[in-house]
């Protein structure tokens, strides 16, 4: 069979057009989702929305203050648990690269990334909720902290790997103890990389719903006691979205808008930080 050059070039061009076309189609969902959320969300938002509790069915208005406080509290407690553990594990992985333990830890981190969030919810239910005898904010935070760990560990490890050995050797040769070298020289040198990993992990868990379903559960009132059930933005979106009431849908659109803004904002900060204060030597 003879294929002429013209035919081959035609195929070549056609393929490129198809690639560009399919890639463009791929961006549509983002635009469509953002458009819908912004259009429906902005009309639901006003001052009352941020300071009021949700109203019962039939009454218009109402807000999501309980979910906002709940989400902030859940994420704060989750960060307190996961940041030290994640950063220390990351340091271990970058300091001891060829030990058996670092191999298994890396493998575990990879596996942990893939564990479905609902399964983490089940485990924390069995560990914490069942032991404590009821749903609680702390169990929700523990579930979220498990989900934050992989990305904190990975970003710490990958950032610290970039920092040249000479920096460490210089510090050690001046007589600085090893732990101070790590904490005062190596860690500050890579702090932007680690911080962006932490912010990204927060952005990821801010929208997590599945692990909260049977841990933090939900709460129609403001709660700041970590031993009691607590509401959260994603939980309120889920519960109101599947409800049959128009007023509640409106609240859910508003809550989605707030959540999307937070998530996009955190993602954009990380992008700018990564570009501006790139860890490089």
């Amino acid at each position: 069979m003879v294929t002429t050059i013209k035919y081959r070039e035609f195929k070549n061009k056609l393929f490129k057009v198809i690639i560009i076309l399919l890639t463009t189609v791929c961006t549509l969902p983002l635009l469509l989702v953002l458009y819908k959320i912004f259009r429906e969300g902005i009309s639901a938002i006003n001052w009352d929305f941020f300071v009021n509790l949700p109203k019962p069915v039939g009454e218009t208005g109402g807000g999501i203050v309980n979910a906002l406080i709940g989400s902030v509290l859940l994420i704060l407690v989750a960060s307190v648990i996961s940041i030290p553990l994640g950063v220390f594990t990351g340091i271990y992985l970058s300091e001891y690269r060829n030990t058996k333990l670092s191999y298994f830890t890396l493998l575990s981190v990879d596996v942990l990334t893939g564990v479905p969030s609902i399964v983490i919810g089940i485990i924390i239910y069995l560990w914490v909720v069942k032991t404590m005898g009821g749903f609680s904010a702390i169990s929700g935070s523990i579930a979220l902290s498990v989900m934050m760990l992989p990305s904190i560990i990975k970003s710490t490890e990958e950032t610290l790997k970039l920092i040249p050995n000479t920096l460490k050797e210089a510090s050690l040769s001046l007589g600085v103890p090893y732990y101070r070298t790590i904490l005062k020289v190596i860690l500050p040198a890579g702090i932007t990389g680690i911080l962006s990993g932490i912010i990204l992990s927060i952005a990821r868990v801010a929208g997590e719903t599945a692990p909260l379903l049977f841990t933090a559960f939900g709460n129609p009132f403001i709660n700041t006691n970590i031993l009691k059930p607590i509401s959260s933005l994603p939980a309120i979106i889920f519960n109101y979205a599947i409800s049959p009431y128009e007023d509640w849908h409106k609240l859910a659109w508003g809550a989605s808008f707030v959540l999307i803004i937070i998530v996009l904002f955190l993602n954009i900060i990380t992008k700018i930080a990564q570009r501006k204060w790139k860890v490089q030597f």
Binding site: C26, Y96, D110, V119, F238, W253, I260, L264
Partner: protein, 300 residues
């Protein structure tokens, strides 16, 4: 000039020792954590494994009231939605990966599309579900009325479309990674022989990256299998074996999400946990295989 006393040296030695121990304990705790996950899931599914046994896999009736726990409808629903989502997602993710990894590697256009795809991954699952419920479901419903099947709106197809949107960014980021690793001299050699770009892609890039692309798709499948919220909101939650792409169904993750807090009875709860164990095992195996292929790829 400060003089370091023996006391201080002792203190430093202790801190040094404690610091190294803390690092070690942190690292080992991750491994232990994962191991305990597995043990907990196995221990809690034992009642169900013992009483239901193998029937859990092929039994088609799920009726907690009469203690019948056949998981086949959910197994079928999970595989059906995930595979359909993969079929939809593969052409798109390959295109985007070639777009970012071959056609437009640098520059403004590349940066814009790269960021869009990354933001696609940032949108929470529950928001995809909510959007799907109010935008996609009416669309599918009108399509179903047009072709004359029962217009549920929710169902396998709706969930698969949303799932495919959610896994594209994931597959893309892994695939771009391997496509950019193709050695330039291989491609240049082909160009110098007069190959067009399409021929280079078909004869050099795709064969060279085959295993990497396979791993990317495998990992995307792992993500699709365990995806919960969006699917729960869109699949229709009916305990039947799905027979067509328009029929409602249920996946393992969504049945756990729906019934876990209401599960009364030891076997009922245990059966739901057994599904969690299954998801855990499958995603673990997929991740270990996928990551090791990609790792081997980036080293070679």
């Amino acid at each position: 000039m400060p003089i370091t006393t023996d006391q201080q040296i002792k203190g430093i030695n202790f801190s040094e020792f404690a610091f190294r121990k803390i690092l070690f304990i942190s690292a080992i705790s991750i491994v232990i954590l994962l191991f305990c996950f597995f043990l907990t899931l196995v221990a809690s599914s034992l009642p169900s494994i013992n009483t239901i046994g193998i029937k859990f896999i092929y039994g088609v009736t799920w009726d907690p009231v009469s203690d019948k726990f056949g998981g086949f409808p959910f197994l079928a629903g999970t595989l059906f939605t995930s595979l359909l989502a993969l079929i939809i997602a593969i052409p798109f993710s390959l295109s985007v990966a070639l777009f970012l990894g071959e056609y437009f590697r640098t520059g403004l256009i590349s940066a814009i599309f790269k960021n869009i795809v990354e933001l696609l991954a940032a949108i929470p699952s529950v928001i995809y579900g909510f959007w799907g419920l109010f935008v996609l479901v009416p669309l599918i419903r009108s399509l179903e009325t047009k072709i004359g099947v029962a217009p549920y709106g929710v169902g396998i197809l709706t969930s698969s479309i949303i799932l495919s949107i959610m896994i594209v960014p994931y597959a893309v980021s892994l695939t771009v990674q391997v496509i950019t690793l193709v050695p330039a001299d291989l491609k240049e050699a082909a160009y110098s022989l007069g190959a067009t770009r399409l021929e280079v892609i078909r004869n050099i890039i795709l064969p060279y990256t085959r295993s990497g692309i396979f791993a990317g798709i495998l990992l995307a499948l792992g993500r699709a299998l365990g995806e919960t919220m969006a699917v729960t909101m869109l699949i229709g939650n009916s305990h039947i074996v799905p027979v067509s792409i328009f029929s409602p169904g249920n996946t393992m993750a969504s049945v756990i999400a729906n019934e876990f807090t209401e599960a009364t009875g030891k076997i009922y709860l245990s059966a739901l946990i057994e599904m969690g164990l299954f998801l855990f095992l499958v995603t673990t195996i997929i991740n270990i295989i996928g990551r090791s292929v990609i790792k081997r790829f980036s080293i070679s």
